[in-house]
Symmetry: C2
Subunit: 334 residues, 2 copies
Amino acid sequence: MTKPLQVVGIGNALVDVLAHTTDPDLDALGVEKGIMQLIDTARAVDLYAHMGPAREMSGGSAANTVAGVAALGGRTAYVGKVKDDQLGRIFAHDLRAQGAVYDTPPAPSSHSHETGRCMVLVTPDGERSMSTYLGVSEFLAPADIDEAQMASAEWIFLEGYRFDGPESIAAFEKAVRATKGAGGRVAITLSDPFCVERHRDDFLRLIRADVDLLVANEHELKSLYLTDVLSEAMARAEAEIPVTACTVGAAGAHIIAGGDRFHAPAAPGVTVVDVTGAGDLFAAGLLHGIVSGRDWETCARMGCVAAGEIISHLGARPEADLRALFTEHDLPVA
Amino acid sequence: MTKPLQVVGIGNALVDVLAHTTDPDLDALGVEKGIMQLIDTARAVDLYAHMGPAREMSGGSAANTVAGVAALGGRTAYVGKVKDDQLGRIFAHDLRAQGAVYDTPPAPSSHSHETGRCMVLVTPDGERSMSTYLGVSEFLAPADIDEAQMASAEWIFLEGYRFDGPESIAAFEKAVRATKGAGGRVAITLSDPFCVERHRDDFLRLIRADVDLLVANEHELKSLYLTDVLSEAMARAEAEIPVTACTVGAAGAHIIAGGDRFHAPAAPGVTVVDVTGAGDLFAAGLLHGIVSGRDWETCARMGCVAAGEIISHLGARPEADLRALFTEHDLPVA
């Protein structure tokens, strides 16, 4: 299947505000460690006022994945909502500068919400604790979905986080119909165990009807199937999804596809600085492998090597030349 | 002399937009390597559209110095103009979060110019090439100078770059009068050889009348005195300035004070990633030493160790714990 676009990601368009902190300071700020929490404007203002000096980098889970696929040479596009403000222009610039198509019309400067941002507090162990002010990204609506673009995609990649929002499920349904109607396939990431809690029924409905590839970590997959046993969750996934990719932290990743199971170890020799974006870049490497027609074990290894790059530095967009890194790891580059 | 503030910096309030690039791409972008060029709005838009994915960090030369002094535990304030926009709020946050006082009223959102920014392109050799859109920072005026704050400062630190602007020299003169009238002292950084070209007469007039400490690199000092011979420039400086600190790149720094000369080597074991902010953090370490009453050799070493931290990573604000770093280098911390 050769189409103009290989991967179109849809999700929350966010700018990350990254700062180092300590565990006691994280407690003092009232931020729960290791997860993503949604916060309102008042909390965003208060938290920002109390956090240390920061730096800003474009983020957003599916946008990070799209940036990773683009960095690997893939033909990609992204759909997500920013405002016509300085952070929105930064977000658009960084995605386009990475080589991705980004045409979602920004909300006008008169909109009541600003471009969304994610305050990422990184502790010395490399764990990230995220407080997300969705801003205008929450207002993604069916009108933002260009059916012709969806029809031109081999894969669409839906971000689980974006199920938090009034019109977004309708937007996803529109995207899925347009993609499937043109012979394309649908991937979804579960994003976060708490996100799964909030949207389990919607996730399962979509998964059973339309999903060709599920990307999750072990905690999300267990949450989806309400079990504490990973092998049980994987068996449940296998029974209803063509392909499931499940990351297991330092143990690498599993892929379950066509009745077979494959495993890849985590990338060797990586010093963890900041795990922000690990899952996003795993998905990027995996999708790069899939659209390049690689075998499942290679796809899994590609995911792990891309994830290894992103956790070796602060921020969730690739810094190293991912293609050169793949070559170093004896992975084929299209 | 104990006053409420030790160092008050005055300069261009800028947010840095940092991206890695290659030497051929730098040429293609039409950016001259290793210097700071002022650009207008049209050029800023065009350059940004053609540069790669970036990250944003608060910058501004004197603001970096103030952030460094604050990171070392000093009592500092900063004066510089942002707009009431997203980048302006980021700039203000980062400075205050570092512990500095920052009270300059932002220009209202109706102002024709945005918060200024500096596009910093970093080549693999660690050299940075800067294209600065001054934005609203150019409009710093005498009204922005709080004479009571100046009077409460042991030192004011004037950024040479800020001589580019209609009302700024008047602002500097007001600041100098208020500081000197209350027994404070005046430091100035020359900022850039081209900046010296543009403002040599103003610099020399200020230096001869009021400057107690000149901070420069060898290129700037030679440009100031129109000579190719560093020793000659240093002799000229010695004849008319109480203290001159001159950095000489990998060879460290010299201080000429009270008829004596002192030297400190560059910090050992530093891998150069990005030289942005090297001079700014040298000034921070130096001023920390001065306000802590250290001897000149220690002051020079403090400057070199602080500069070594900043060139070891991308961006011009300190990442490491500077106080811990000083202790590692057997430097006293107040």
